[in-house]
Symmetry: C2
């Protein structure tokens, strides 16, 4: 039986001796935010007994009720952000989220020459370029490995392992809350019930709009587009479709089509033109994206040279996200600079041409299918299948039309026409089918 | 329609301006080996028009027959290794493979203060620690992102994104040749036919022992064990089981058990004790490891904090491997140092306790099952199922016994006893079942 002493520690006691590195003092770390992720970061730092990372400050509003007795001795607990920004901390770990005041704290820290590690996807999606410039000008570093896909090393993988490729497509499940809700609905639960369960488990906020509306995934997609497709887009150009209009009947029809429904964030570049979207989509059950369950995240990058590379794992939660934060801190402690990925400003100019699934709910009468197919034909949209499952009442009858790949704009024009018909009980639901 | 000028290039023209970096001269790169991977590296460098990476030398035996007209102008083609080692190249990219003479060239380059990028898993598995020490002492860097899983950023992901976790388990498909052979056999082909096809396609060597014998996967597992489990083991302590004894009948039985067969490399640490193995195993069809087809690679790391993280993609082939090499070169060009993962020497001391699948081929007579189950019972091995499919002749009858989790040593003792029976037409095949 072999003894593996210290193998689990983060101590730099490497076999590869780097001259001089042992003499350096540890990186002094100030945590902004002591919620789920913040306390996991403190927990890992405290359990790892690292001699390169030292937790010195914990900032939180109403900090008195946050104190834990297992935190490293000597940590300053405070609700005075100014004092921490003016302290001798080398790195601010920003885990508060949102644009304000978190963005202000991050700017202040970078201006003071400190480095920043953050999990704030919104801040990075909207202001990442400006903040990176500020960090470079002041001699600090900005790292945000935790901002996309939590504990899955998607950002380090892109920067360090795929920088040599020319990535042409991104397809991902980037929001664990939506994946939890949709995979539970896939098992038969109703949206409202699952949302309540997600809220009880801490997966969803009291106001779930950021998640279910697609805004969270959109911010993450914009970050991945910069590092993978090397374009800087205004996240607000990406129009998300909420998952709230997907219901049990859609899972039932999807299953008949060999599919399930997932919130997919995707972007691609073809002939110098960009397309990006976040929406609930029909996903083939044989696709890796259909395998992810619960709060899992998954990203597939398609490279010109390397083909498909898939990353998956826990995209949210305190511990997985904290792993990404601590890994970024270790990279800072080892002077492992980011590989700069060049990027250029760009606008979305292309549309996805994909098959669509349209679910109608109608008060049945003769001629409905003829009218709908007529409108589709005028937009040159070819029908693939019309499916109507038995067992629904004629006054609120759901049925599905799937169509061959067509541009979203053509489908929108067709739907505008179809909506004018008097038979609809609810608005038709248009879902892209991922192929 | 948006124009994305230069988005596909590797030029450092980043939005994040790093003071001084633009003034630096490009990294001068010498390629050792101009086979499939080497020419892909040259191709990517030449198409990327990078201003931080400059290909200056290409070394190959009999270089005259290797010359291509698309290589960057001014490249020195040579079969004189000494001249390149004494040249002003900053980095040697070693793609020759094997311990000798490649290892000697790598040592010479590091001693001269050059950096080395290599895809040589054998060299890194056996001499990585020594070579890293040499690089650090002489001021150079050693990078080997291409040594494991080709184009999948497993090593950068471990170093940069999972360094903050404490990884406890590795399970992977690390050899594309074996995965190609086994996934083709899964579709009904015979071993010899598929091996010939793999050889014709360049996936397998004329002597396939390194791959099918498990030696290639073993070297890669040893490298992952150092970076993930933080232990340095002698690769020869890991005893591989060849895939050559798996036959069509095993896929048929596996399918009945809800499984397929894959070559799996796995290692884990429990209570300070290490176990590692490379072998064909029964893999549940619902496991991610059963999804990989053809030459794909896949690795699952299980972290104490972050849980399971899965990487998959093209683990071999010129272009994917070249992506890893070029990414390492870009990291060198950007002074992105490796995050040093501490590690300690260790020995394998533990056994996996897993269910086993044992396929017997016997000349049938009464009492065989009673004798076999008797021997198993004496080793306290509990039987899970006995399966015998119809349609085989009585004089060469294959049947399968699966057992509850037991130590490998107990199973070996039982098999030694069972082998003494006079009924065997071929040696019983013992496969671990991955759970």
């Amino acid at each position: 039986m072999s003894e593996i002493k210290g193998a689990a520690s983060l101590k730099v006691q490497s076999n590869a001796v780097v001259p001089g590195s042992s003499a350096r003092r540890p990186l002094r770390i100030a945590l902004f935010g002591f919620g789920t992720v913040g306390s996991s970061v403190a927990r890992i730092l405290s359990e790892s007994n690292s001699d390169v990372l030292k937790l010195t400050h914990i900032f939180n509003r109403g900090v008195a009720r946050k104190r834990v007795e297992w935190a490293p001795a000597g940590v300053v607990w405070t609700e005075d952000a100014e004092a921490v920004l003016n302290s001798d901390a080398d790195v601010i770990v920003e885990l508060v989220g949102g644009l304000d005041p978190a963005g202000n704290w991050v700017r202040r820290a970078l201006e003071a020459g400190k480095s920043v590690v953050t999990a704030n996807k919104k801040l990075i999606a909207f202001h990442g370029i400006e903040l990176e410039r500020l960090a470079a000008a002041k001699g600090g570093h900005l790292k945000y490995g935790a901002a996309v896909a939590g504990g899955i090393p998607v950002i380090p993988g892109l920067e360090q392992g795929l920088a040599g490729d020319r990535i042409e497509r991104i397809e991902g499940i980037l929001n664990g809350t939506c994946n939890f809700i949709l995979s539970k609905m896939d098992e038969g639960a109703e949206y409202a019930t699952v949302l309540a369960e997600a809220q009880a488990k801490g997966y969803a906020e009291a106001d779930p709009t950021e998640d279910v509306g697609g805004f969270d995934a959109r911010a993450k997609l914009a970050i991945l587009m910069r590092l993978a497709l090397r374009v800087v887009v205004d996240p607000e150009e990406i129009k998300p479709q909420a998952i709230t209009s997907v219901s049990a009947v859609d899972f039932s029809y999807a299953r008949d089509l060999g599919c399930t429904v997932r919130q997919i964030a995707r972007a691609h570049r073809t002939n110098g033109s960009l397309a990006a979207t976040v929406a609930p989509m029909l996903v083939d059950l044989r696709s890796p994206l259909a395998w992810s369950r619960g709060t899992e995240n998954m990203v597939v990058f398609t490279g010109h040279y390397g083909g498909d590379v898939v990353f998956s794992g826990h995209g949210a939660g305190g511990h997985p996200t904290a792993v990404a934060v601590v890994s970024d801190l270790l990279a800072l402690a080892h002077d492992s600079r980011r590989v700069e990925i060049p990027s250029v400003p760009a606008r979305l100019g292309a549309e996805f041409e994909v098959p669509h699934y349209i679910r109608f709910t109608v008060n049945d009468r003769p001629g409905i299918v003829a009218e709908i197919t007529g409108v589709l034909a005028r937009e040159h949209i070819n029908i693939r299948a019309i499916v109507q499952k038995p067992g629904y009442p004629a006054h609120a009858l759901p049925f599905v039309v799937t169509v061959e790949p067509c541009k979203s704009s053509a489908m929108e024009r067709a739907l505008d026409g179809i909506r004018k018909m008097d038979c609809h009980i609810s608005d038709p639901l248009d879902l892209q089918m991922l192929e």
